[in-house]
């Protein structure tokens, strides 16, 4: 039930006053965005149309306090489909800006820069799909330096910058390098014997969280884990770290599989393309050194392709086949 006494007719104007929020007025509530939304495919409680509608009629308190406004990953899959050309993720951002102003905090972590290490190289500012990072003057050890700074309202926690920063100056809770390494090696998996005689090739799979549609699917894949398979999930395949891939290969994995979203389905705009680009270059490096490009592979899991991961893993294992070892 909507009580008119709880409506704030000024809210529409408030959102529209924030850059990006101007177009809220034009929403017809047609629902095309909801039908397209990539997040909604995984979490039906998220409905961008409804959020825009509620904001438009002034349900200020309900909108600002809701958990949904933080769920949009600003992938912009809906933007080109909207008949009114509303940049929905920008409207969401405007709403979140007001929420932050009102004292609500983003429920999830965002990327953090260690100013004692950052060189201001600007690798991360180019890497972030959202432009959430800028270099700003900061006094460190008595000297003014240009240090990277993350806007927590724009950061979608994809982890791409964490992988990209070449000096290890950015961290993001739950997907720090050390945490990924712990998950890779838990139970001594990394120290395991590389493809024991007559045994199965050992595969480490880095899997984008969005390529699994449901908890049940995750549970199935997790249950498959044994000495020949280790699964480590990533927020996005763009978070894949070439150094961790090489480390896995050097420490006893025969192959590394990176699983990302299908073309046009990335939740972080271009994250999956960066993942593919890294894997493609890494494969040329492995080929050029005679180690063999078959040791690393990128596969895409399209949103409608369900339960396909076991087959993709088996396929890679077959391709690795018997020990394809190289010597000096």
């Amino acid at each position: 039930m909507i009580r008119s006494s709880e409506l704030d007719p000024g809210f529409l104007q408030e959102v529209m006053a924030i850059p990006g929020g101007e177009n809220l007025l034009h929403c017809w509530s047609c629902g095309t965005c909801a039908a397209t939304c990539l997040v909604r495919r995984y979490d039906p409680s998220f409905n961008p149309r409804l959020i825009l509608r509620k904001a438009g009629i002034g349900m200020r308190q309900e909108v600002l306090s809701s958990r949904e406004i933080w769920l949009c990953s600003a992938c912009d899959a809906c933007y080109p489909r909207c008949p009114q050309e509303i940049h929905i993720s920008e409207v969401m951002r405007a709403i979140r800006t007001i929420a932050i102003r009102d004292g609500y905090a983003p429920p999830g972590p965002s990327a953090e820069v260690d100013s004692a290490l950052c060189s201001g190289c600007a690798v991360c500012t180019r890497a972030c799909p959202y432009g959430a990072i800028d270099r700003v003057p900061v006094i460190v050890d008595g000297l003014e330096r240009m240090i990277a700074q993350v806007d927590p309202n724009t950061c979608m926690a994809c982890g791409i910058c964490v992988a990209a920063c070449p000096s290890g100056s950015i961290s993001l809770e739950a997907v720090r390098n050390e945490e990924l390494l712990t998950r890779m090696s838990a139970g001594g998996w990394l120290a395991g014997q590389s493809q024991p005689e007559g045994g199965k090739p050992r595969i480490l799979a880095f899997v984008c969280q969005w390529s699994m549609r449901s908890d049940a699917e995750w549970a199935e894949v997790e249950a498959m884990q044994d000495d020949s398979l280790r699964v480590v999930n990533l927020p996005c395949s763009g978070r894949v770290d070439p150094a961790l891939v090489l480390l896995a290969l050097a420490e006893g994995a025969d192959g590394v599989l990176v699983v990302g979203c299908g073309e046009g389905e990335c939740h972080y705009k271009r994250g999956t393309y960066l993942g593919r680009g890294k894997v493609a270059l890494l494969r040329s490096v492995l080929e050029q050194t005679g180690i063999g490009m078959e040791r690393v592979r990128f596969v895409e899991l399209e949103a409608l392709q369900r339960g396909a991961l076991p087959a993709l893993i088996a396929d890679m294992a077959a391709a690795l086949g018997q020990p394809a070892r190289v010597s000096g």
Partner: protein, 342 residues
């Protein structure tokens, strides 16, 4: 006060590291006041027998430049380790393999064949190949034997410190030598002669920050803008993934950093970090577009691992598990002896 005993050696190197010591200029005179040079084959006449005759631990500090490529390199590394209290890997070759280690991509056989037959400047109509051993009327001549892989000094013997750089900057070297002279050396195990952070920190070039590269260029293909970040102009600049220390020498001279000061602190694999940094700065909103930009990178190993191949994770991948730990197969040269490349 007794004078310090200092030694300098060159293994598989170009000689640039020795030149960087000569670049100390007048500081060499100050050095001569407090230190005796007991071994420096590039600059003065010493014989290996002179070193063999020294008691163990006789030399206070040895600056060892050059990678370990031959059995001779390995032998002298062991010898100098025994005779020196402090052994310092000096320069990129000794620290991380450097240019000589790029031969590991195709192996020692290929390198030898290329040197004997493949170089445009080689005139070898008789097809003469290097021989490890050759009998002359005056006696038998021998050449050092190549190992299958070029290695870093610390992969052969324990070292206390490394001074990176190809070659190390002489200002940094002088500071490091002062630390030696004044007994101010830090805890063993780290780098000497470097600054905090990466080359970008010392680079004066302006970074716009959001420019993504559509096509990578090699230095000979472009005259870069003198003020702007070279990476943003499409040149693969290793500055973001390279330890600071040189004062951003190359980038100030208009050349992209090639990465000779090695990985930043705590970074496992310089090449992998650079690769990621380069992809992250690529333009492209689709698989096809990114692949197109990726394909403009020529020679990925030589680009990302130009200096650090022997110290990289790839090195372990190429040598393990067949050649684990300290042993490695020796390269047989026709008619040659088997070396003791450890």
């Amino acid at each position: 006060m007794e004078k310090l005993k200092l030694a300098v050696y060159w293994a598989s190197s170009c000689g640039g590291c020795d030149i960087s010591l000569v670049e100390l200029g007048e500081h060499l005179l100050e050095l001569a006041r407090v230190a005796d040079i007991v071994f420096w084959p590039c600059a003065m006449d010493f014989k290996y027998a002179d070193v063999e005759a020294m008691p163990d631990g006789h030399i206070d500090v040895t600056l060892f430049n050059g990678a370990i490529r031959t059995d001779e390199d390995a032998h002298i590394a062991h010898l100098l380790r025994a005779k020196s209290r402090v052994l310092i890997a000096y320069g990129s070759c000794a620290t991380e393999g450097c240019i000589p280690a790029l031969a590991n991509i195709k192996g020692a056989d290929h390198a030898l064949a290329r040197a004997a037959f493949g170089e445009p400047t080689t005139d070898n109509p008789g097809g003469t190949m290097f021989q490890g051993r050759y009998a002359m009327p005056e006696g038998v001549l021998t050449l050092p034997v190549l190992g299958t892989q070029v290695r870093t000094l610390s992969q052969v013997v324990p070292v206390q410190y490394s001074i990176p750089g190809c070659p190390p900057s002489h200002e940094q070297v002088w500071q490091a030598l002062n630390a030696v002279i004044e007994g101010r050396l830090p805890e063993p195990g780290g780098l000497l002669g470097v600054d905090a952070r990466t080359v970008c920190d010392q680079c004066p070039r302006v970074r716009e920050g959001k420019i993504r590269v559509e096509r990578f260029l090699r230095p000979h293909e472009v005259i870069p803008d003198p003020e702007r970040c070279l990476l943003e102009q499409g040149l693969v600049c290793a500055g973001p993934a390279t330890h600071a220390g040189c004062g951003a020498l190359c980038v100030k001279a208009g050349m992209p950093c090639r990465g000779c000061y090695g990985a930043p602190d705590g970074i496992l694999d310089q090449g992998a970090e650079l690769l990621d940094a380069i992809v992250a700065g690529m333009a492209g909103e689709s698989d096809e577009e990114i692949r197109r930009v990726v394909s403009t990178i020529v020679d990925p190993v030589g680009t990302f691992y130009r200096f650090s191949l022997a110290a990289s994770l790839l090195h372990g991948l190429k040598t393990s598990p067949l050649e684990s730990g300290a042993t490695c197969e020796t390269q047989r040269i026709p008619g040659g002896r088997e070396g003791d490349v450890a």
